[in-house]
Symmetry: C2
Subunit: 596 residues, 2 copies
């Protein structure tokens, strides 16, 4: 049996028509001996009726059907009796009076409910083990659709801008100095390995040298990192690179892409151009390089108030070159001891000694530190932080970057507490895009006593800062940019170095990578650059993360058809697994199982 219509198609305009439908038995109800089956396909649901008074044999056959069985039904479209019309679905005015039935497959009883609410309560491991059932839930079906639509919109956009998609290899060379990578032993070359590509960065720059000019790729990437909630062993990256462009071009191209995606997937117009915020401002105001701008609670620098304070902790921090940052969590004076303790623990995990606070409640300041403050200091704080009754103020006293980071995190936690209390609303679809720009090109790695590239060593310095590459590398800003949405880094990129001599200098003189390592790892790129490399730059962003934001979910596993667990396991197909001795022998390796 084949379908004449899909299950969201039949409306009262089809009354009297002979139709056939195929799909899954979504729900089955018996009303006084008459069997009603909601038949579901990927488009929707249509109610089918089996009446034993009309056809006893057919109704008996239909009685064997269990939920989630696959069936085909042909019959006549009839109006539902008054009072049984379902106005929530397009097919709610009709039902199909069954004349024939084909049972393709009977289903066992699913191990968990397949509706959105029931399924969401289920342990995720169970959902992943039975992913084929989990993916039947309306929410998950929608997520796969959104991902398809978003991906299509991205490809259509870049095609319209004359970018061409070029595939680059997954089997690449090992670069042990970088992030941890997956290795693939070679059978032909005993003792040698490929590494799974962590990103097409080097290949895309090579494509610019090849004269492709406008490249993009939606590429699978692999990183053997410790998996967190929003990480997967393999992830999908939208990777873009173009020649003869500057930062303004990248902003325009990427904003245009996001505009199209948001329009086509959500029918939302996002305003462009995006706000641009230097890294220093992002840290100062939000304590993080990916600020969530859906709410305020901005950080304040109150260092100048405490320059000569009697509160030695603050005074000495300022004297030592540090800063005092503060945040007024408006209306959060009702925080419990437990909540304050939890926040303090987070601050400590970020390197704070504690988390000083002022609770402004019933006309007085409750605080372990306020007794050290002068009246002038109190007045200045009240003025600068606009402290009112009911407010909760937090302080961090430390070096600039650490103080910002501590209060940046405090800000996010405070916002969550306000949301919990109904005092603040943060909507997932309140889209606050921005560019964070002017990152430092290098940061100093205390442990190894050398500079490291903040993003990667191919980023070009800002032109006017290049003169400080030797004398004061920390002062040099990079032509790097991050696209940020609602506290998440959507993507990042940079204008690259295209002159081989400068690239070599950055590798060897600034980053102090030994010349032989530079040669073995990047020698081929430096060589390529001597054959006419154009100025170029680009951006890369995580498709999984973007789809999660579009779907309003916090987990990228909800937008990946077959994700692995946080321990890297495929619970459905069961991997990884031991392999045979023959396989290992062919690959010239053996396993070394650590002793307990």
């Amino acid at each position: 049996m084949k379908s004449s219509h899909h299950c969201a198609q039949l409306t009262p305009s089809a009354l009297g028509a002979s139709v056939s439908l195929v799909g899954w038995a979504d729900s089955i109800r018996d009303h006084g001996g008459i069997l009603f089956i909601d038949l579901r396909d990927r488009k929707g649901i249509t109610q089918v009726k089996f009446d034993p008074h009309v056809n006893a044999e057919l109704a008996a056959q239909a009685a064997q059907i269990k939920p989630e069985s696959v069936i085909g039904v042909s019959g006549k479209v009839v109006a539902r009796p008054e009072g049984t019309v379902n106005k929530n679905i397009p097919t709610g005015g009709i039902e199909v009076d069954a004349i024939a039935l084909e049972i393709f497959n009977i289903s066992d009883t699913p191990p968990f409910p397949l509706d959105d609410i029931g399924g969401d309560k289920v342990n995720e491991d169970l959902r992943l083990t039975y992913r084929y059932l989990d993916l039947r839930r309306p929410k998950m079906r929608k997520n796969l659709q959104v991902r398809h639509k978003a991906t299509k919109a991205i490809r259509d956009y870049f095609d319209s801008q004359e970018f061409i998609e070029v595939e680059t290899p997954a089997l690449f060379k090992s670069t042990p100095e970088g992030a941890r990578e997956y290795l693939v032993p070679s059978r032909i070359h005993a003792g040698q390995f490929y590494a799974l590509s962590q990103s097409p960065q080097q290949f895309k720059q090579i494509l610019m040298v090849a004269g492709v000019e406008r490249y993009f790729q939606i590429a699978r990437c692999f990183r053997d990192e410790d998996l967190r909630a929003d990480r997967q062993m393999e992830f999908t990256q939208v990777d873009v690179e173009a020649s003869f462009i500057d930062r303004e071009d990248v902003y325009r191209i990427f904003e245009g892409m996001l505009k199209k995606v948001w329009k086509e997937v959500l029918d939302v117009d996002i305003p462009t151009p995006f706000l641009r915020m230097p890294f220093v401002d992002a840290m100062n105001r939000f304590g993080v390089d990916k600020p969530d701008m859906r709410f305020g609670l901005e950080l304040q620098d109150v260092s100048s108030i405490f320059t000569n304070s009697a509160f030695k902790v603050f005074q000495s921090t300022v004297a030592g070159g540090g800063v005092i940052k503060a945040i007024n969590a408006k209306g959060l004076a009702d925080m419990t001891q437990g909540e304050i303790k939890a926040l303090e623990d987070i601050a400590k995990s970020l390197g704070a000694k504690g988390l000083a606070f002022i609770k402004s409640e019933n006309g007085e300041w409750k605080s372990p530190i306020v007794k050290f403050f002068s009246d002038a200091e109190k007045a200045a704080l009240t003025e600068q932080l606009k402290i009112e009754d009911g407010d909760m103020v937090f302080f961090a006293a430390a070096g600039w970057e650490k103080a910002c980071a501590i209060l940046g995190r405090t800000r996010l936690e405070a916002a969550q507490l306000l949301v919990k209390r109904g005092k603040m609303t943060i909507r997932h679809d309140d889209w606050k895009f921005l560019w964070v720009i002017e990152f430092p090109l290098m940061s100093f790695d205390e442990e190894n006593n050398r500079y490291v590239a903040t993003h990667h060593p191919f980023t070009a310095p800002v032109a006017e800062d290049a003169q400080y590459l030797d004398s004061d590398p920390k002062r040099v800003r990079g032509q790097h940019y991050d696209a940020v949405l609602n506290g998440m880094e959507l993507g990042g990129g940079s204008i690259r170095i295209h002159q081989p001599a400068i690239q070599k200098k950055v590798f060897e003189d600034v980053l102090k990578i030994p010349a032989d390592v530079v040669e073995s790892r990047f020698g081929y790129m430096l060589k390529a650059f001597t054959y006419g490399a154009p100025p170029h730059g680009g951006i890369a962003f995580g498709l999984d993360r973007m789809c999660a934001l579009l779907c309003g979910t916090t987990s990228i596993r909800d937008v990946i058809a077959f994700p692995k667990t946080q321990k890297g396991q495929d619970l459905m197909a069961q991997s990884p697994t031991p392999v045979t001795a023959k396989q290992l022998k062919e690959l010239h390796i053996q396993t070394v199982i650590p002793q307990e």
Copy 2:
């Protein structure tokens, strides 16, 4: 400097305009002190003029430019003097009188010429080592464009047919019974491995169980096979699956896709529906399951002529159940001894004892075997094979499949010899599509004394043959289909088994796979099928191969940006490589280098 136009844009309609162009110095010519540079970007070429009489300083600067350097030029569009107009390119009527020059990067001298003809003569290893230069050649640039266009057309087509693209994992579980796979050691699970996905076959069937109904994916796949001319370690597969469909639906969907691709990429209308040919006919007529139908030279069965022959080799073959196949290579009687010997060697490599032939030359048959033929046999041969003077006839006497295969290969070789002699034309753009259908579901593996699936164990039997699954498996035809173009298998697929009991029976009773292996390898699929699996089927085809055919090249390496060599090496970036002891320790493996 940024461009105002691209290098294929300026025509006499722009005379007098001030423009700027960026790109590569394609060629540099000095005519009486005046420097002419062909500036090239991805779109085309524009001639730029530096006249020292107009601006000596600028001309001196331009004189430093070497071919393949990257430059920006601004200037005025002027008409070329009469007699110097190049009518072969759209910009051939104008040139740009340079006013300013920016040199972005000077190029070293490329190690090989970057034109199509010069580059084609270069050793391929050199091209792969300097792939960024090889990809600048017009032919390779076009190939990347064609690949992008074809891929885009495929995605647009499936989207228009309401298929959604779903990504499936590359890191899958090892299934050592199948083709050789790449293994990836797990760091978290000591002693365990992932395998790189050889195809999304199992995931796409699971997606059908999940109710996706219409899935496609352009997926990277990995096989550790011995690399031949048309194989790569990683390749790109267009993978399609749909529910509630039959073979006719698949033919229609896939033909529609190819129609769109050929139209959009080549502006060629290919006629549909395609010819359909049962496997048995393909073997009988062309000696192969992927017939090249651009030329005739069909195989003939001449067994009946030799039933009672005095030529015992033929007679006993027929008596023993074998066949005598023959092919008349019209006009090839001028084959040399060397050519005949080479063809005989090929036949022997396919299991033939020799390659019997008749050379019909100057009114007589020259042949080592014809002396054994009766006049009646000669007359019957002449009649059936339409032997004329100048023809060359080959015979194979063997079991049906072997005889077909030997002459199928002979047919291809003979065609090449006729092409070489100018007696036959085979155009790469003479598109002869067909479906080969009705393959046997199983074939008997003599070595292991059991049946094996001809394609894969998920293929459903043809309904009317299913009754012979137990009694006579060889008689059962599968619902498999191959799409063939000009002697190449473009793709293949099947309608799958969707009933868990039948699938289990095929695994265990027909293919005799031990129950524990079935459980560990396919247990999750059999389980999934008990929860409402719809009837489904699909197709998969190699994108690299299709692009090679579209580009008229015989090597898939010409349509892959960064292919590996036949020894699996990346000659540009240099991989595979040894890795550090630390890396191996983290992955709980060590290498075992075989002794010389």
